[in-house]
């Protein structure tokens, strides 16, 4: 008993213009010249866990398969080690493209929900925004509560270890001038980067906050 799935892609599956949109973001231009050699996947320490290899992500972006790319685990598995960017023979800044795709996935709200990595990014951002600093152990606690309560229980031993070694602060770290940072962020919210003259960034900024 098994179910067959059709894997064919139709032209209607493409979101035409998506590839161009990504490659027109500064830093992502070279993607157009990808020769699909697979060096990125070959050097990526995490490619072995990815649903699409980094090389495939490049091909999918270029061919406008927006939904496939933004839903992929690959972009979230990228740990930003920059090995691919360093090695790419076409000088494609693959890590930056992954960031670009992460931002788009967040913005479109189509990232995998229970997947802990985008949740971490969200929570991290929230904490950094609110307090100006990140207290790692609290962040980890929140993360586990949101994604996998069992994992949190499994980590109690690590927490205890950190505590006894003085590496588990019991109070929140934060900056003194929280309102200053808040004001800065509000300023950003009020400027639309796309409305700026000579803006090279294309309509993907999402300064409206989350």
């Amino acid at each position: 008993m098994f179910e067959l799935t059709r894997t064919i892609k139709y032209e209607a599956d493409r979101v035409k213009g998506f590839g161009r949109e990504v490659t027109s973001v500064p830093g992502c231009e070279n993607l157009e010249t990808c020769i699909q050699c697979g060096t990125c996947s070959g050097v990526c320490p995490l490619s072995i866990y990815m649903d699409y290899s980094p090389r495939q992500v490049m091909a999918l972006v270029r061919s406008d398969f927006k939904n496939e790319v933004l839903r992929s685990h690959t972009i979230w598995l990228c740990a930003s080690c920059y090995a691919c960017t360093s090695e790419c023979p076409r000088k494609i800044r693959i890590t930056d493209i992954m960031y670009e795709l992460k931002q788009r996935a967040m913005h479109e709200g189509i990232y995998p929900r229970k997947f802990p990595i985008p949740v971490l990014a969200q929570e991290f951002t929230k904490m950094a925004h609110k307090r100006g600093r990140v207290t790692e152990n609290f962040l980890a606690t929140i993360l586990f509560l949101k994604t996998n309560i069992m994992a949190a229980l499994g980590m109690w031993k690590l927490g205890l270890g950190l505590l006894t070694r003085g590496r588990f602060p019991l109070k929140w770290e934060s900056i003194k001038r929280r309102s200053e940072l808040d004001g800065m962020m509000k300023t950003v919210d009020n400027i639309s980067i796309d409305a700026l003259p000579q803006a090279q960034h294309h309509g993907h900024k999402h300064n409206g906050g989350h």
Binding site: G38, S41, S47, P89
Partner: protein, 666 residues
């Protein structure tokens, strides 16, 4: 010559070429011709489909006669392409060819612009400039230069060898200059040649020895071109002969000196075997080296280094007296009519890609090293044994090392796919090892090449499409301990794979020599952006350069395989033969002369001339230009404070009129 047109009425004929749609597609040539027809002195203005065609040229000749034209302007392609054609047509009409001027509205206009109105406007402006200019043209006479019936060939690889033999067989005097102690180049190091797998030595060495013994060929190995002066037909070349500490004429190649050297065993890295074998300080690069003359390496020879040696070699040489420890660098001047540059390539230095571990892991080899390993006359006698003494059971060949990579060399080196497959075949044949070939795209465009690929597939070579990420010696999975592990995405199967192998072969790409820029300057050639020598035209003049009489052949122009190299060498030889057999070459009459009545005798022009063509006549207190020495750059003209120097074809008045013309549009 012709009647003196100077005082006669100027009657200009103008022709605008459509060049099919090449020009007419972007420039309204009909409009340009129509407007040009209304300009002063223009008697006749036409547009025509293809001016360079026979009927087009005929049209000019006819019109000159019928309409009594005495100036011709053609607006078409680049003068570098067809100026000669139209000058000939002008001459055919009975006019001095230098009453012609050409307007470039294709390369400089229709092909590079996108707005029809702007392009047309520009074409008309350039036309006006030419029409104003041509009125001031004068009848000139071309200079003919005799061509010395000899050729200098730089580089003794297969390209140089083939060109030398072709020219020598045609009865021309050939000077073949090679930097290394022997000719043969890279090909001499190869074992087999793809795709036929015939033995490289078997097909090359007979040609080498013919070069060595041919009466028309003077072979100077271990020599370099130091200086080149003059121009087509008459190049004066200085060749530097490095001391090999052997009197070439006296040495018979008996190699007794090598046997008797105080070093009983070969001790020093052998360059010919890519450092895989050893040689003595006195050595011959390989048995079939041409010339069959030994040489002494001053870096390792005891006598040359310390002056303290028993000189057993001299004893062994006995009364031949071929060894001369006092030999010095020598410079020889020769006179040649033409030059063929065939300086070849250098292989990419694999250490520049540290992720592949060359120089770190001893069982990582370059392809050229493996050529020596599989070669029966190589350091291991043709046994593929690695630096650790083992025969490999599994081998990974990595393509595109230093090719198709924006961080190193952008180009495809063209030969690596094929030679990698050849090595895969040979390694399999010699050792029965499992061979993996990692490629980005398999490039086999050549006669019998794709069939060779087929053969390799049948032989069971594992072809994996993916550029290798890294070669490491850290083991993770079972079976990886003590091996070199290749990590790669198998892009066709869709998996990242780790493949442990005993030996890694890096298919290094081809690149220009480190000193290619110096060679280029020596012969006044151009380089393309990559550093390979630039041909005059990529399609129609592939072995010519921008310097008249200097031709190029082989990999110095770009990566290519042996068949293409030989074909190109033949072509270069043929081009050189054409020049020589023609006996003379016509030079542009663009030389400068002095208007004596204007010259104030200030001498400021004299040091400016790089050809010392300007002398000073003390008796008259005037500068004098020697026309035979003048190359026509016009630098003195631009610098003369009294305006008393005139350059033919580029007179001040002509250029001022051109400036006026290009700015005369509305």
């Amino acid at each position: 010559m012709q009647m003196d047109n100077q005082k006669a009425e100027v009657r200009i004929g103008f022709y605008a070429c459509h060049c099919g749609s090449n020009i007419a597609g972007m420039v309204d040539v009909v409009e340009v011709a129509k407007k040009a027809g209304k300009l002063p002195h223009v008697v006749l203005s036409r547009d025509y489909k293809y001016m360079c065609s026979d009927p087009g040229q005929e049209l000019i000749a006819q019109d000159i006669k019928e309409h009594k034209l005495n100036r011709i302007v053609v607006a078409s392609c680049s003068p570098l392409l067809h100026e000669h054609t139209f000058r000939t047509a002008t001459e055919k009409g009975g006019l001095n060819p230098f009453y012609f001027h050409m307007v470039n509205i294709r390369e400089h206009n229709s092909w590079v612009h996108t707005d029809r109105q702007e392009a047309t406007e520009k074409a008309y402006a350039l036309t006006q400039a030419a029409i104003r200019r041509v009125a001031h043209h004068k009848a000139l006479e071309v200079k003919k230069v005799k061509i010395e019936p000899s050729v200098l060939i730089v580089g003794g690889g297969i390209a140089g060898i083939h060109a030398a033999l072709t020219m020598a067989e045609a009865g021309k005097k050939v000077y073949l200059v090679e930097r290394e102690p022997t000719i043969g180049g890279h090909m001499a190091k190869f074992d087999k040649t793809f795709p036929t797998l015939d033995c490289a030595a078997c097909i090359l060495t007979p040609k080498m020895s013919t070069v060595g013994s041919h009466p028309n060929i003077t072979l100077w190995t271990y020599s370099e071109v130091a200086k080149v002066e003059g121009f087509v037909g008459n190049y004066k070349v200085t060749v530097k002969r490095k001391p090999r500490y052997i009197i070439e004429d006296a040495c018979v190649g008996c190699m007794e000196c090598i046997k008797s050297c105080v070093y009983k065993e070969p001790k020093f890295a052998d360059e010919f075997n890519e450092g895989l074998g050893k040689r003595k300080p006195v050595y011959i690069p390989f048995p079939q080296a041409t010339p069959q003359v030994v040489l002494i390496d001053p870096e390792t020879c005891l006598q040359l280094k310390t002056g303290k040696c028993k000189k057993t070699c001299v004893e062994a040489c006995a009364d031949r007296h071929a060894i001369d420890f006092n030999q010095k660098e020598e410079f020889i001047d020769i006179q040649v009519g033409t030059v063929i540059v065939a300086t070849g390539f250098k292989t990419f230095d694999a250490e520049r890609l540290p992720q592949y571990g060359y120089g770190v892991h001893k069982n990582v080899y370059t392809a050229l090293e493996v050529e020596r390993l599989v070669n029966a006359s190589g350091p291991t006698g043709g046994h593929v044994v690695m630096r650790d003494g083992q025969e490999p059971k599994s081998v990974g060949i990595i393509h595109c090392v230093g090719s198709r990579d924006k961080k190193t060399n952008r180009w495809c080196s063209r030969v690596c796919c094929m030679y990698s497959m050849k090595l895969a075949h040979l390694i399999k044949e010699h050792t029965g090892a499992e061979v993996y070939s990692f490629y980005i795209d398999m490039r086999t465009p050549g006669k019998g090449y794709e069939e060779f690929y087929d053969k390799l597939l049948e032989e069971g070579v594992q072809f994996i499409r993916g550029r290798v990420g890294e070669v490491t010696d850290w083991a993770y999975a079972p079976g990886e301990d003590g091996k070199l592990v290749i990590r790669v995405e198998d892009t066709l199967a869709g998996y990242v794979r780790r493949i442990p192998v005993d030996m890694v072969v890096l298919a290094s790409g081809l690149e220009p020599h480190k000193d290619s820029q110096d060679v280029r300057r020596l012969f006044n050639m151009s380089c393309s952006t990559e550093g390979f020598f630039l041909e005059r035209h990529p399609k129609l003049a592939p072995v010519s350069t921008f310097t008249e009489g200097v031709f190029i052949a082989g990999c110095c122009q770009g990566p290519r395989d042996i068949p293409d190299t030989v074909a190109q060498a033949g072509a270069a030889a043929a081009e050189a033969l054409v020049l020589i057999d023609k006996g003379s070459v016509e030079l542009e009459p663009n030389t400068a002369y002095i208007l004596e009545q204007e010259c104030s005798g200030c001498k400021s022009c004299i040091p400016l001339c790089p050809y010392t063509a300007i002398a000073f006549a003390e008796d008259r207190n005037k500068a004098v230009i020697n026309e035979a020495l003048c190359k026509g750059c016009g630098t003195c003209v631009a610098s003369c404070p009294s305006g008393s120097i005139v350059q033919n074809l580029f007179e001040d008045e002509e250029i001022f009129k051109e400036i006026e013309g290009v700015l005369a549009y509305e």
